[in-house]
Amino acid sequence: MNIARWLTVLWFLFAIGIASAQDAPVPTPTPTPTPAPAGPPPITVASGTAGKNYLNLSLDGLIVVGASTEPDVPGLQTGGHDPSQRGFTVQNVEVVFDGAVDPYFRGQANVVLQIDPDGETVVELEEAYAVTTSLPKGLQVKVGQYFTEFGRLNPTHPHTWDFVDQPLVSGRMFGGDGLRSVGARISWLMPTPFYSELLVSAQNAKGETATSFGGVTGDVMFGRPLDPDDVKSAGDLLYVPRYDASFDIGETQTVVVGASGAFGPNGTGAGADTGIVGIDALWKWKSARADKGFPFVKVQGEAMSRRYEAAATPLLPAETFEDHGTYLQAVWGIKPMWTLGARYDRVGGDVGDDPADPAFQPRERASLEGTWYPTEYSKLRLQYAYDDRTGLKDASSVWLQFEFLLGAHAAHKF
């Protein structure tokens, strides 16, 4: 495996970056401008409170209430932050810390609290990472626990989603909590006239946030109990390359396209690997006279395909399973603070003929949502979904979601 050499190169680049960042010229403080002669001179002061805290702090609460014709809500909803029962669910209460570490890094931690159906509070360290700010040549390195940059939705937090729940394909490929793990990622913003970025992540491959890979000891995948190996060589890590590019079409339209891969060992036995590949696209139109960002139309879709090598067990032969999933969604920002959206979801593929494991049967879902944002700090969303599942009853669900955000103003990525 050349992966060890790869890692060495990565580390080397990182070290060079730090060194050259430290060689950068010391920025001179901005001189105080002279008062203007026009009219009474403005008083010269150091204005602003921005940057008076070392740490930005915010808290986001996401709560949902609703019902489904399916009593087994966790069997219907594949996301860890989806509604988990009829009635009320605390989807997440997310505490975010972020700020500049020093002139070379920005740090962020997202600590998530949830209340499970038994009333027990669960704490999750969703993300905690540092990212470089000053590497040369368009390079950037991220280190810590973070959402893997695979596709468009996986790296994002539930309160930024356009729907109450995650698409089926995310649950199928990455489990309830998304693909995230501790590791390091290097990215290169390529010197092209249009946006073009190449990223490679190396992360630990096991745990409940790497379900298609190592997974959790004792869990079952494709009929086989998982017993993930400890890392013995660089080949036992999860590698996630991604490329994305973006173009503007005139003043009002933007397109982003991307392709990702995730490759690593899985927990079914020695030598058994999983590979997931995906493509994603986003098109957005926003009015040139947008008021609070409205009106807009955005269409987003992702398609993923997984190849899972399941090792032999005393009862089962070695087999390779291939499955896939897609979602396509459109959201229309009708007028300031109002949106309407629709999403179509589908997962399927050759996953053996184990009827005892409905989680792996083909299924489809159609969802409709309408959202009202009283301000950018709160929202109220109504969603209807129809689930069509092979071997299980169809289900209709209605959810009403409420979000509130306290503290530092969240900045929105595109």
Binding site: A21, A24, P25, P27, T28, T30, P31, T32, P33, T34, P35, A36, P37, A38, G39, P40, P41, P42, I43, T44, V45, S47, G48, T49, A50, G51, P103, R106, V131, T133, S134, L135, P136, G138, L139, Q140, L189, Y195, S246, F247, E251, T254, V256, K284, K286, S287, A288, R289, A290, K292, G293, P336, T375, E376, H409, A410, A411, H412, K413, F414
Partner: protein
């Protein structure tokens, strides 16, 4: 060609900074604006193409009073350009050295979308544009000493042109001293303070909160009591709401903008924009007399 290659690449968050930068930089700078003149500057998309522009920039000019807080941070992080990071040699906070109005005593969002640093629409006062012009001239000189005499000459020319216009504008608005105006958002506070108008009535009940029928009824009541005959509206704000209020009060709707290019014929021209704004406001005030 050589000039083009050596030109300082300047990125401005909003077009009024871009216009002043172009006036001071002349041929020695190449200016890109992130926000469109016609869109709401509080809600700009953090488009990847903006990251590309920032990654190549020598200078980033931001207001620095939280107006761009919802979209600038991920762009700067994505650009990974040490020159324009906070504290970098090319990072310019235009509000530096300017006395901001409306600094909130306490940060409380039940009062609307307050900006901790104060009202960020300070460029509507031409005296503040002069401060920004001086600031930009200093930054350009520091980063490109060879062209410093040209920057200084441009700055002096801009200041002279602005001063002449300020006298003209003050004269045009002098007959309306103490007159109240209605605006959609507290965008015109600095403008009003400079030219002796009173800007205290807004269609928004609180900053950033959309107009509600009870609040509009209150606004119309005030307009009748105080004989306010005009409602200022910008390209991205709801003209329909302004028209409804104007119709019921016999006032007129005045199209104005805080960004060069938001009114036709003012593209890239700060002085031209303010000239158009002053003319529109003065003629509406005269008609409402």
């Amino acid at each position: 060609m050589i000039t083009l290659l050596l030109a300082l690449k300047v990125v401005a968050t909003t077009p009024e900074y871009g216009a002043v930068a172009a006036a001071i930089g002349g041929d020695q700078v190449k200016v890109t604006n992130l926000a469109k003149a016609t869109e709401d500057p509080h809600f700009v998309d953090a488009k990847p193409s903006h990251i590309v522009a920032l990654s190549k920039a020598d200078i980033l000019i931001e207001g620095g009073a939280d107006l761009e807080v919802g979209w600038l941070p991920p762009l700067v992080e994505g650009a990974r350009n040490a020159k324009i990071n906070a504290g970098g040699p090319g990072r310019v906070r235009a509000s530096e050295g300017i006395q901001l109005l409306d600094i909130p005593a306490a940060l409380d969002r039940s009062l609307g979308d307050l900006h901790a640093a104060g009202n960020p629409h300070f460029m509507m006062d031409p005296a503040n544009a002069k401060v920004v012009a001086d600031h930009l001239c200093d930054v350009f000189c520091r980063l490109d000493a060879a062209s410093c005499p040209a920057y200084k000459a441009n700055r002096d020319a801009f200041a002279a042109k602005l001063q002449a216009k300020v006298d003209e504008w003050a004269k045009a608005l002098a007959p309306f001293k103490g007159k109240p105006i209605v605006t959609y958002h507290p965008t015109w506070r600095y403008f009003a303070a400079r030219f002796g108008l009173v800007s205290e009535v807004y269609l928004e009940p609180k900053p950033g909160i959309p107009p509600s029928p009870p609040h509009l009824a209150e606004v119309m009541q005030k307009m009748k009591e105080q004989h306010i005959g005009l409602v200022l509206v910008e390209p991205f704000q709801s003209r329909k709401t302004a028209e409804a209020v104007a119709e019921r009060t016999g006032a007129r709707v005045v199209d104005v903008c805080q960004f060069p290019g938001g009114l036709s014929g003012t593209e890239g021209d700060y002085v031209g924009l303010l000239d158009a704004d002053v003319k529109a406001i003065a003629s509406a005030l005269a008609a409402a007399k």
